[in-house]
């Protein structure tokens, strides 16, 4: 293998698994350390810069960082990264934050842009571009900004005040908002002479189930996301006692839990797929189960049961999952099950829809009637029109929408300045030695053995009565500190300087997880098997040093390195150093 080039920022970035997995690449260990130090405002600002909605995401994020967390590879549970983010939002000093956030009016640069849709993607673009002097016009059909964060996430998971606060940080930068304005024509918007248009309209159309008797029912059968929006805006306040929620995703979880709060006593979730393969996040399933909602898996909906023109239930056929072909197939068993129901909520997915985009504008559509959008620049085939969030490539999540927003903002800025959109700005990186003394590091290197701490919940009886009462109470100071201590500080890199190494083996001997091997160089595939402990996790890189005087190389398997610093501590020549790596993705401007 060739020596590893650690001057390429992507090598160390990949070692910080959480940050690498985060679509917005939030510097997770950095803010977790600040939380442990009680510096909540600083922790909040790191988040705000990177993911724009720390308070919202600290409650609702899909957490791609947590499955990636290294801690989950050496013990059962990853660090509760998401809930620590919420801690930063809960305990920040609001006054300090509002002083740290860029404040308008900003000197204008003469460019005008339009944002269609007021969700996380558009708001991110607005936040990135407004301070650069752009005149930003935001269009949304609702009465307030936030998009799906407002309409699809129930208040018991995300209090309105938290959302309002973070949406307003952006709108207060001097965004021209056009609420209660449904954009019915892209041409009209383009004709207004905007320098660029960003489309962040999400995936607003919930799928229906066209089954037997569906056509007979106008009321009592609801489409998940529309129903949640109607609840959010107070149009819907009640539901029948017996409720069936069809679908196994996060929307289904929100629907069933909302139903429990609107009068549903007997709420069932009915899902086609087996329990282990449901799309909903495990913690959302757990929360639903905690509210006494049973799951009926492998039930394929066949039709609605109607009596006297009224919904009385639904019919299902039991299916069996079969994996013989390598792909999952659901085989009907012929067994029929009927469930009674006063109301049915269908939460089986959502789709994009662009009826308002004229087909003759030069904006091309491809497969599934989705616009053709460049994966890097987010530009459509119409040079002035950019897409992001669910509108770009189909339904994802808030943090992905934010990441799209940042990239689209960079593109719009480059576009408005006549620059090449493919010439992306580089990330900001920094590497700082952590050595303070012989056994002293400026980070808390001791690895604690604590298991993941649970977030305290509100009393179930109380919270089921009030759909706006937040269920999760968040960590208190002590719990937050203890959970923060579980972080392994993966951003404190073990940096190896081969010309100082005397090959005394001290690092290899002391390494608790046997990551370090001195060995004759070979092909990667062979080396992986020959290490002290074979490096079987192919997703994790091997660090390879230059050739050492004994003709061997030093190999470090990044997989389960605890970043405890013992290699550096036991190194007599400081060939190993612990260096804190900070990686910030580029922003517009």
């Amino acid at each position: 293998m060739k020596p590893t080039d650690t001057s390429n920022p992507e090598y160390y970035h990949k070692v910080v698994d959480c940050q690498y997995a985060c679509p917005a690449h939030t510097p997770v260990p950095e803010y977790i350390r600040l939380i442990a130090a009680g510096r909540f405002t600083d922790a909040y600002m790191i988040n705000w810069e990177s993911n724009v909605f720390p308070g919202v995401l600290g409650r609702t994020c899909d957490r791609p960082c947590e499955p990636a967390c290294r801690r989950g590879r050496v013990e059962e549970e990853p660090v509760a990264i998401c809930r620590l983010k919420r801690v930063a939002a809960d305990y920040k000093d609001k006054e300090d934050v509002s002083n740290l956030i860029p404040k308008g009016p900003f000197p204008k640069n003469g460019k005008r842009i339009a944002l269609i849709g007021g969700g996380p993607a558009s708001l991110t673009v607005a936040r990135d571009l407004a301070p650069l002097g752009y005149e930003v016009h935001l269009y949304d059909e609702q009465i307030k900004g936030g998009g799906m964060m407002r309409t699809q996430i129930p208040a018991f998971r995300l209090p309105e005040s938290v959302l309002d606060e973070e949406v307003n940080y952006i709108l207060d930068m001097g965004i021209d908002t056009h609420f209660k304005t449904y954009v019915s024509s892209l041409k009209e918007i383009l004709d207004k002479g905007y320098d660029a248009v960003f489309v962040g309209t999400g995936a607003p159309k919930g799928k229906d189930l066209k089954l037997d008797n569906r056509e007979l029912l106008s009321s009592n059968v609801h489409i998940g996301i529309q129903w949640l929006a109607s609840v959010a805006f107070g149009h819907t306040t009640k539901i029948g006692k017996k409720v069936l929620v069809i679908g196994g995703g996060n929307t289904a979880m929100d629907c069933c839990r909302t139903s429990r709060r609107l009068g549903g006593d007997d709420v069932k979730v009915v899902v086609r797929s087996p329990f282990d393969e449901m799309k909903a996040s495990p913690w959302e399933i757990e929360d639903a189960q905690h509210e006494d909602i049973p799951f009926h898996n492998c039930h394929n909906p066949k039709g609605f049961l109607v009596q006297d023109g009224k919904l009385v239930g639904m019919r299902f056929e039991i299916v069996e999952a079969n994996y013989d072909t390598g792909k999952r197939r659901l085989i009907p068993t012929g067994e029929i099950v009927d469930f009674e129901a006063d109301d049915v909520i269908i939460a089986v997915g959502q789709e994009n829809t662009f009826p308002w985009i004229e087909k003759d504008l030069g904006l091309e559509f491809g497969e599934w009637e989705m616009p053709i959008v460049d994966k890097t620049t987010f530009q459509s085939t119409h040079p002035k029109v950019f897409f992001g969030g669910d509108a770009a490539f189909g339904p994802e999540n808030v943090i992905t929408a934010v990441a799209h927003g940042h990239q689209a903002a960079i593109s719009i800025d480059l576009f408005c300045n006549g620059a090449d959109l493919k010439d992306r700005p580089h990330p900001m990186t920094n590497l700082i030695n952590q050595k303070m003394g012989i056994h002293e590091w400026s980070y808390d290197s001791a690895v604690v053995n604590d298991l993941r701490y649970k977030v305290p919940h509100a009393d179930k009886k109380q919270s089921l009565k009030d759909r706006k009462m937040e269920v999760e109470l968040g960590f208190d100071f002590d719990l937050a500190f203890q959970e923060a201590q579980r972080c392994l500080n993966c951003d404190v890199q073990t940096s190896f300087n081969f010309d100082k190494c005397i090959e005394c083996d001290a690092c290899a001997d002391v390494c608790p997880t046997d990551c370090i091997t001195f060995i004759e160089n070979d092909d990667e595939a062979d080396l992986r098997l020959k290490l002290k402990v074979p490096a079987l996790n192919q997703t994790q890189d091997l660090f390879v040093s230059e050739t050492l005087p004994t003709t061997r190389v030093l190999i470090k398997d990044e997989n389960v390195c605890l970043h405890c610093g013992l290699c550096a501590e036991r190194c007599p020549t400081a060939a190993w150093e612990m260096e804190k790596f900070l990686y910030k993705t580029a922003k517009a401007g």
Binding site: E75, V447, C504, A506, D509, V510, P512, C515, C564, C571
Partner: protein, 350 residues
């Protein structure tokens, strides 16, 4: 942080044949200087005992005084241990071994502890053929008292202060040969591929097994001109051959070209497999081995590997025909057979 070893280990690590994990053979984190050769030897002992699947409570580690003699804290944390008086490790080992022959004994000593203050004890332990693995962590200096030359420092070796050592060195391996040791090996802390099988073979040897391990003192004797530094040792090292230790339940899988390899069957059924042997080397020929060691010494080479072995040796218990059982297992009536036995014995002299 200071001296805290994380509890996590690599999740892919498997237990050994008797269900113990490598962690069960580890000790506290070392407080020796960073980069000390002794730590590598400690880690080789851990690996050897883990691989041999010896129950940790069936091992006793005994040491004297010195940096080397501190090391038993850093390995085999679940085994018996006795940190004794300077140079007196052999006495304590003798007592322990006589009291209980059913443990594996690892005696750890340094060049000062063995070649100076403990020399009188060392030679008698060899003469009595205790069934002990006697490891000298040899750094050629008194590291614990700031690096004065020890009795194993080579003549002309330059200390950190710049002084050349005027005295001839005691070569402990030659001495052990001279005194009739039945297992003599030499190795280097920086060469675990050789050291680990040597320790395993020594643990299987039924008599006194002596290992002289060059173990550089990074703080006081790793300077230019020192003959016990990492660099000097690597430049002058000459291996007698490559060795592999095959525990009795395993099959030998490697084929070596004829003449260059040799298998030595041990009493416990295990096999020492030697390959790439230096020309005509026979580690079972005491005279020839002795000559080769002296030749290498004159040439300024550091000869390492298994230097001499006599697997058919009789250890102290066999020589004295003592009890198979350890003393703590003997019943009171056996230990103290009563008045009648005394009368019988006395009568023999009448």
């Amino acid at each position: 942080m200071t001296y805290i070893k994380p509890a996590f280990r690599h999740p892919d690590l498997q237990p050994n044949a008797i269900g113990f994990h490598k962690k069960d053979y580890e000790g506290a984190i070392s407080t020796l200087c960073a980069g000390c050769g002794h730590d590598s030897i400690s880690s080789a002992i851990v690996q050897a005992c883990f691989d041999l699947a010896i129950e940790p409570h069936k091992i006793a580690k005994i040491s004297g005084i010195g940096c080397s003699s501190k090391t038993p804290t850093y390995y085999l944390g679940q085994s018996h241990g006795f940190n004794s008086v300077h140079g007196r490790m052999p006495s304590v080992a003798t007592g322990a071994y006589l009291a209980n022959r059913n443990l594996k004994y690892i005696g750890v000593s340094g060049d000062g502890d063995t070649a100076s203050i403990g020399m009188g004890q060392f030679v008698h332990a060899i003469r009595r053929n205790l069934n002990v693995v006697y490891i000298v962590m040899n750094n050629g200096c008194y590291g614990l008292t700031k690096g004065q030359d020890s009795a194993t420092a080579d003549e002309g070796s330059i200390s950190k202060k710049g002084q050349a050592n005027p005295f001839e060195a005691i070569d402990l391996a030659s001495l052990a040969m001279e005194l009739g040791a039945t297992f003599v090996g030499r190795s280097f802390s920086g060469d675990k591929t050789q050291l680990i099988p040597l320790i395993k073979a020594a643990l299987s040897h039924p008599g006194f097994a002596f290992l002289d391990v060059i173990s550089p003192c990074v703080t006081f004797n790793n300077n230019k001109g020192s003959t016990k530094s990492y660099d000097y040792t690597r430049e002058h090292i000459e291996a007698t051959g490559t060795m592999d230790f095959v525990p009795f339940e395993q099959e030998i899988t490697v084929d070596y070209p004829e003449g260059s390899s040799k298998s030595i069957a041990m009493h416990d059924g295990s096999i020492i497999e030697l390959s790439k042997l230096a020309n005509g080397w026979d580690p079972q020929d005491r005279m020839a081995s002795f000559m080769k060691i002296q030749e290498a010494r004159i040439k300024g080479q550091i000869l390492t590997g298994l230097l001499y072995i006599d697997p058919e040796t009789k250890d102290l218990h066999q020589m004295l025909n003592t009890t198979e059982k350890s003393l703590n297992q003997l019943e009171a009536n056996v230990l103290s057979p009563g008045l009648k036995s005394l009368v019988d014995i006395n009568n023999e002299y009448r």
